[in-house]
Amino acid sequence: MRNLGALERAVMDVLWARATPATVREVVTDLADRNPAYTTVMTVLDRLARKDFVRRERGEDGRTWRYVAAASRETFVAELMLQVLDLAGDRDAALVHFARSVAGTEADVLRDALTDDPDREPPDRR
């Protein structure tokens, strides 16, 4: 599992670094130093799409899939942070903390960061 996680991370890094949607082949090329199998990368991209980290769209030829990061790295960090600070709005504690440390301004900055991003989709659709 840990290796798959590392590959997911690497694939996201590739997509974040590219400005435009990429095909599986292009992602494989960008990951040349890891030398991953084509099918493995395809599996990882599917997993990432299921988790709403990646969006899939048809290329110009209408046949090949192209993949693009669903949001910037910063947006995901902000989402993580909201959960960590327990500001996600649900009362049910999903995490157990060592000690609370929330400063008001921090929380505001984060909320703004999240609401500013028009591309962001709600994470809990299913």
Partner: protein, 302 residues
């Protein structure tokens, strides 16, 4: 009606003990036993609340709620329900069942929401977390805020932020990790769960809020105690003081430590005085009686 009366008395006893128990300091000396008592209290109150209306409605059967329900089902099937129960009794049963169903639905929604949030959090951690030399179960995330927490579950993860690493020295960090692992291994999320569910059912109850706060505090103290097996209290207390918003990280640094943090630090820095074995045994028996009384009323004849 004796069953219904028992449930009312039990609810009154539970409600009356929340305040004193939450305000007492003796539970802090032995958090584990105190948590057991709170669990029993929560269970007893929940069972009694759900069973009360059912016990009223099913009182003509003169049995516990569970066998009486079976008798009711048999009567409904036989088409002679109105010979057994009056309309008022039936209304009580229906309202009682509706209430129980609502609580159950709320509980399921709450639990599945928590699990979903955790799953999402774990996915985010896969993308954003890095391995650390502190252990296989520890992840480091690049956050500007001091954070240390555990994602509970069958494969728990302890997460610390880069700010935490900067803030704490090595010993303090190890003490914090020990504290978080205690949360994970003793499944403190499950200890907190019943109170989360009760609060969700009655969000405006001050009594439940007080109970949930007390339990949360005891859970932290229990984790502190576990960390003390390997670490010095001064180390953990130092880490705690680094953490709160008024600590060295906060701009201005003027805000006082929260009441909870102050209490934990003070507790760490005074010599340990666990309750005596006799007192603890007494508390365990009390907890067992509390939990068993309403449970036994479900099956015993009235």
């Amino acid at each position: 009606m004796t069953h219904a009366l028992h449930h009312v008395v039990m609810l009154a006893v539970c409600a009356a003990s929340v305040g004193p128990l939450a305000r007492s300091r003796w539970p802090w000396h032995s958090p584990r036993v105190a948590l057991l008592l709170w669990q029993a209290l929560g269970l007893a109150a929940g069972l009694s609340a759900v069973s009360f209306l059912l016990a009223v409605g099913l009182s003509p059967y003169g049995r516990g709620v569970v066998p009486a329900c079976a008798a009711l089902v048999a009567d409904v099937v036989a088409g002679q329900v109105f010979t057994a129960l009056s309309l008022a009794h039936l209304v009580a049963v229906v309202v009682g069942l509706a209430l129980a169903a609502r609580l159950l639905v709320g509980a399921v929604a709450s639990v599945s929401g928590t699990l979903r949030a955790r799953r999402r959090h774990r996915s985010l951690l896969t993308l954003l977390g890095r391995d650390t030399p502190d252990g296989d179960d520890v992840l480091l995330v690049d956050l500007p805020t001091a954070a240390a927490y555990c994602v509970p579950g069958r494969h728990p993860r302890v997460v610390i932020s880069t700010a935490t690493r900067r803030l704490l020295d090595d010993n303090q960090l190890r003490a914090v990790l020990a504290h978080e692992r205690a949360h994970a291994h003793e499944r403190h999320d499950l200890i907190l769960l019943p109170f989360t569910l009760l609060r969700r059912a009655l969000p405006n109850s001050r009594l439940l809020a007080e109970a949930a706060r007390a339990v949360a505090m005891l859970v932290e103290m229990r984790a502190d105690d576990r960390a003390l097996a390997r670490h010095r209290p001064e180390t953990l207390a130092g880490a705690l003081l680094c953490f709160h918003p008024g600590g060295p990280t906060a701009p201005g640094g003027a805000a006082p430590a929260s009441h909870e943090i102050q209490a934990r630090v003070r507790r760490l820095l005074t010599p340990r005085r666990p309750l005596s074995a006799g007192v603890r045994a007494l508390l365990v028996v009390t907890a067992a009686l509390l939990a068993l009384t309403p449970a036994s009323l479900l099956v015993l004849p009235g």
